[in-house]
Every structure is written in structure tokens, then in C-alpha cells.
């Protein structure tokens, strides 16, 4: 069973601030009586939903305090979410707090056994891979010395070597690939890739964009405990880099000054990008080409998007997406995929994307629009799930998809030439048209 998959559904984790109402001593608890004052708690994570297929490598990026490590721990089963659910299939290997479990008074050999068994290996397994581990850690000469005499680099290498030899189905990595010198880091990355190629799933938290790019194929971008985006690395990583750049440039630089949009956009929460090209207007149009935010199921929907600065990048990629209320992506496409390139002769360009049928279940959705450079390296402007779209009309009992449906009874005639298919079209009822 060398397979692993992670499913996270609407997960939230709440934290009590330190020194909250609840006492940590029995004395305090008895003195304060049994009255539990609801202290101001905050959500470290909220509404996190995503799924990782077996064999995928997901990089988790976000600024400090985005909840990356919390999420990693929850997936590892350390602590339970306060809401939502997490499903994990397979043996978990973790590269968290590298070096925390080393015992100073024991020798390198004893520590390898101890760490290995704590990580979930059997003693026989550790014994089998012992030489491999020592060779990987480059500690052949020092393995019989107590760890007390090791340098920081040696400790890290030892702990890392054990952790990557567990052969997990799911490998959780928290900023752990910054161990040792360049050569050793390269070896670590190579080893992680090897584990990935062996069919394992990797969940990698890092601030190092180049490492994420090297290992991962998908990126989960967190901000303030919420998912900003989850998708292919090409699209998500530029979003993150632009967020970092915005933070570096601080508030002095306000790239979106010229824009006046009907919807309020909050930089770094619902709006990202360097502002070189700017989306100035987004209008949803119905079949009659009148602006609207409500359509009936199966209707045509056009998304009209105007942006300025088109002369600066004539090959900009336009991204259009529809997201459900729980942040699930229902639909996303881009102009590159459609091989559509606007003819740019003025600085302002208006693009209309038409979806011929919106076969979504009734409900509230939000439209995302974005402008990227053709090589996906830069985000010019990205409006994350801001334009409301309500879909009304009859829908399915459950689910998001709402295709035209027909029900029919198939005549059972034993003499028929094609008994498997019966007669199509008879007694049919197209509910949506």
C-alpha cells in the first residue's frame, strides 16, 4: 500500500490566547469556581478545504502566521481540528522540528534506533537500513560518539537521515530542507524527490520558493488562516511572490490607485498582483447583455473584463474562474488554454468571455478574474472570489453540477434489436430547458 491521500474538509482550528480564562492549576481552577468565562479565542485556521491525490507534491506557502505549520500538524494527527474533518490514508512520515528528539547522552547509533522507532519503524527495519542512514548522514566516523559531541549540522543530518528513511506514504515537511551545506541540501531534495517518485504524497511547507518549485506540482496558498488559492504551481506561486513583494514594498507603494471598482477589494486578501496591468472593470452579463449578478440555471453568462496597461504586456493571460461558497473551484480556465490572444492597439482592452451554459446547481458563487504574464512568472492583477454570482432555478438534490437531466422508462422488449439502450427520447423530460 504505497499510496497516500489527504482530504481536508472545511477544517477550522481555534486557539485560546495564552493566559486566557481557564486556569492551568487545580488551585486556580478551584478558586475561580467552575465558571468558565468564554475568552476571546481566534481561529488559527478556518474553512480549509482541499484534497491531495496520491503521488502529488503540494507546497504550502504563505506569509508568517498564515497557519501553515498548524495545518501540517493537524494533518499529522497532532491535535484535532475544532471543526471539519481530515482524512489521511497511509503511513505518515514527518520532517517537523528536526533534531528535537535527539538525546544528548546516547551515541549516534542509539539515537538512530530511538528516532527510527519513534518515527514508526520497527527495530528490525532500522537495523536493516542502519548503514544506509549513516551513509546518508555522512556520519560514519562519529556514529559511536555521544550526540553531545556533535555539531549542530551533524545533529540535523542525523535526524534528517532517519526521517527520510522511514519510507512513508505521506511525507510532511516543515521548513526542514534548509539543513547543512548546499551539497547536503541538494542531497535532501534529491531524496525527497526519490520518495515522491516512489509514489508517496508530499506536503511541503516552505518559504523558499525555489525549493517549492523544484519539488512540488501543486501549491496551497494560505493567508491569515484561510485558503487564498489551491492549484497548479504555475498559477499559485506568482500569486504568492506578488504577496511577498507587496509586503516588502510595504504600504508606501499602492499599485491600484487608479482603479475604481464597484466591489471593494482588499489588497492581499482579495486582490493580488504588482499592478503593472490592472483590471478596471468586471461586469457579469446575462443573455440579453445586461449587467446582472443573478442568472437562471443553464443560462448563458458573459464575463466582461476591462484592463489597462495592455501595451506593457501584449501576451497577458486572462484567468476566469467560478468558486462555490466553500471555496471549491467549480470552473477555471484561461486565455492561454483557449489559445486566445487579444489584439492590442490601445492601452485599454475589453475582453468578453462567454460561457454558453452555466450548468451549476442553484446557489451563491463568486467569480475570480486574473491577469498573469504568459510565462506565469508574474501576477499583474488578481481578484480572488469577489464578484458575486447567484444561480437560481431548479437544481439537484445535492452537489454542484446541474446538467440537463432526463428520466425515462426503457421498454423491456425481448425481441428488440438493441435491448441495452431501449428507445431514447421517448417520454423524456428536459427539466432545465
Amino acid at each position: 500500500m504505497r499510496q497516500g491521500a489527504i482530504t481536508v474538509h472545511d477544517v477550522g482550528k481555534r486557539y485560546r490566547p495564552q493566559g486566557g480564562a481557564r486556569s492551568t492549576t487545580l488551585k486556580g481552577y478551584l478558586l475561580s469556581g467552575r465558571s468558565v468565562v468564554q475568552s476571546k479565542s481566534f481561529w488559527g485556521l478556518r474553512h480549509i478545504s482541499f484534497a491531495v491525490a496520491p503521488g502529488q507534491a503540494v507546497g504550502v506557502v504563505g506569509l508568517n502566521g498564515a497557519g501553515k505549520s498548524t495545518l501540517l500538524r493537524l494533518i499529522g494527527g497532532v491535535g484535532r481540528p475544532d471543526e471539519g474533518q481530515i482524512k489521511v490514508r497511509g503511513r505518515i512520515g514527518a520532517l517537523l522540528d528536526i533534531g528535537a528528539g535527539l538525546t544528548d547522552d546516547l551515541t549516534g547509533r542509539e539515537n538512530i534506533f530511538l528516532l527510527g522507532v519513534i518515527a514508526g519503524m520497527r527495530r528490525t527495519e532500522v537495523a536493516e537500513r542502519f548503514d544506509e542512514i549513516v551513509a546518508f548522514a555522512e556520519l560514519e566516523a562519529a556514529v559511536e560518539n555521544p550526540v553531545r559531541s556533535y555539531s549542530t549540522g551533524m545533529r540535523m543530518r542525523l535526524a534528517f537521515a532517519v526521517a527520510v528513511h522511514v519510507r512513508p506514504d505521506i511525507l510532511l515537511i516543515d521548513e526542514a530542507l534548509a539543513v547543512g551545506d548546499q551539497a547536503f541540501q541538494q542531497k535532501c531534495i534529491a531524496r525527497v524527490k526519490e520518495i515522491l517518485n516512489g509514489g508517496a504524497t508530499i506536503f511541503f511547507v516552505s518559504h523558499d520558493v525555489s525549493q517549492v518549485r523544484e519539488i512540488c506540482d501543486h501549491v496551497l496558498f494560505l493567508r491569515g488562516g484561510r485558503v487564498v488559492g489551491y492549484g497548479p504551481i504555475d498559477e499559485m506561486l506568482p500569486l504568492y511572490t506578488s504577496a511577498v513583494e507587496a509586503k516588502v514594498a510595504s504600504v508606501q507603494h499602492e499599485p491600484f490607485a487608479v482603479t475604481k471598482l464597484p466591489v471593494e477589494l482588499v489588497p492581499q486578501v482579495s486582490r493580488f498582483g504588482n499592478g503593472e496591468l490592472q483590471i478596471t472593470a468586471v461586469v457579469l452579463l446575462n443573455e440579453q447583455s445586461t449587467p446582472t449578478s443573478t442568472i437562471v440555471v443553464g443560462d448563458r453568462l458573459s464575463i466582461s473584463l476591462t484592463y489597462v496597461g495592455a501595451t506593457r504586456d501584449r501576451n497577458a493571460v486572462i484567468v476566469i474562474g467560478i468558486y462555490a461558497a466553500d471555496d471549491t473551484c467549480c470552473f477555471e480556465t484561461d486565455s492561454k488554454l483557449a489559445e486566445f490572444a487579444p489584439v492590442v492597439d490601445t492601452d485599454t482592452v475589453r475582453i468578453e468571455t462567454t460561457l454558453n451554459r452555466v450548468d451549476l446547481a442553484p446557489g451563491d458563487y463568486r467569480v475570480t478574474v486574473g491577469l498573469f504574464s504568459a510565462d506565469w512568472q508574474q501576477v499583474y492583477d488578481y481578484h480572488a472570489e469577489v464578484y458575486p454570482l447567484a444561480v437560481t432555478g431548479p437544481g439537484p438534490r445535492k452537489g454542484m453540477l446541474n446538467p440537463p437531466t432526463q428520466w425515462q422508462q426503457v421498454q423491456s422488449r425481448p425481441t428488440a434489436t438493441s435491448p441495452d439502450h431501449g428507445l431514447l427520447g421517448q417520454h423524456s423530460l428536459d427539466r432545465n430547458s
Binding site: 492551568t24 497532532v78 547522552d105 534506533f113 520497527r122
Partner: protein
Amino acid sequence: MPEHLKDDALDRAKRRDQYWRRDQWKPLIHICLQWNDLLLELLTRDLKMRYQRSAIGLGWSLMRPLSQLLVFSLLFRKVLPLDIPHYTTFVFSGVLAWGWLSTAVPAATTSITGSSELVRRPGFPIGILPVVAVITQAVHLLLALPLLFIISFMETGAPTLSVVALPLVFLAQALFMMGLSYLVAVAHVHFRDTQHLVGVILMLGFYLTPVFYSPLKASEPMALIHTWNPMAWILEGYRAIFVEHAWPPVDIYWKTALVSLPMLIAGICLVERGSARLVDEL
């Protein structure tokens, strides 16, 4: 629509099972083997850390019971004669058995809070920590056991067949202590002064349990403190073997089990159910 309410209810019911891992349902034998390996490694770590760098090593663990033995046998034979036959064997068996309890329970109290780096590791079974504490301290008892046999031999003569009941008495004490250990370990995660409370209670327990004096007869006025004291039952078992060379009374086994099993089950439930919250409290 009631149908949709039903779906909501269903979703909520599903979400109650908040963390699920296929791995957890591997065969019991694997879990046992894994526990066995973990126990072995953690045990050797604890013992090596404690004794590797001291000159007489594990010999230190004998100092405490031996010095206690010296004081008690001087005090209660010469100064305040208690008139207990074979007093040296009597008090040594008591001191050793009580010593196990009085070192293991405080160690178990801080076992979970003291290993936060282990508890924070994905997949680490938190429930193993109190067990490790109890077994580590049992090693000291086992080391002193030959000495007890020698003293018993010199004072009361050769052991009889009843020695084979020793592992059973041992097991009864281990069971009682595990139950206690789980409860105090979980309590200490939530209330950090449990540690001090445990110290005081153990000190009182030492005097209330017939460690260095003989248990009260059931007819005597304060007999309750001995007839309802699991440690008194267990000491009775040890003394039957070492002092009287007789079989320990059978009722001590089931009485200890009756007290210990509910504690153990409650403790395990608290650790397993609450392991999520335990981590947050660390």
C-alpha cells in the same frame, strides 16, 4: 425542506469523526510489536540517561531501599521495638514494593508533559509514556530482588514453591500503578500542580500503608485504612511469599483488579479521546 435538514444532520454526524487515518486500523499485532519496540527503546534511553555517566551505575538505585532498610531495622528493633517476626525481611519487602510506587507515580505524572517533543510527533502513541515510567522504575525493584531473596533466606530459610506466585503479585501491583499513572499523567496536563499533590498524597500513603509496621486486624477500630488499601493487599502478597513462605491470599488479585481495571480503562479513554486536547495544552 426536511430533506435538506436531513442532509445537514448527516453532514454534522459525519464531521464528528474529525480525524481519520487508514493507518490506525492496522492489525493489533502490528501495534503490539510497535509498542514493544518503542517500550524497549524508551526504556533503554531512560536507564542509560540516568546511569551511564555515574560510577556505580545502577547500583545507585539500591542506595535508597538499603538506607531505608538500615534505619527501619535499627529504629523498630532497638529503639521502638515492634515485635514483628523476621522484621528485616518484612520491612525490606515493604520498602521495595512501596519504593516502586513512590518513584513510578511521580515519574508518570510528568511523563506526558515532560516529553512534549515526542507528543508532538505525528503518530506517536501518547499512551505509552506512563507505561514506560512504570516499567523503568520496575527495573530498580527487579535489581533489588536478589538481595531480598538473600535476606529472606538468611532470616526465614529457603523459599518454597509459593515463589511462583511472585510474578502474579508483581502484575497486580503493575496493574494498580498503571491505572494510577494514566490518571495522574492526564490530570497533570490540565492542572500543573497535580505534581505537588501527588507528592503529598504519596507521603501520606507511606504512613497509612503498613510498609514498616504490620497491618491492622479487621476487628480493630482504624482497620479501614488497611482493608480498603490496594497497596496493603499487595504488600500482604509479597510478605506471604517472603516472610511466611505461604501462598498469597487469592482475594488480593481480584480485589486489586477490581480497583485497577476501572482506573486503567478510564485513564486510557482519557488519553485516547483527549489526546487532541492534550497536545494543545502542552
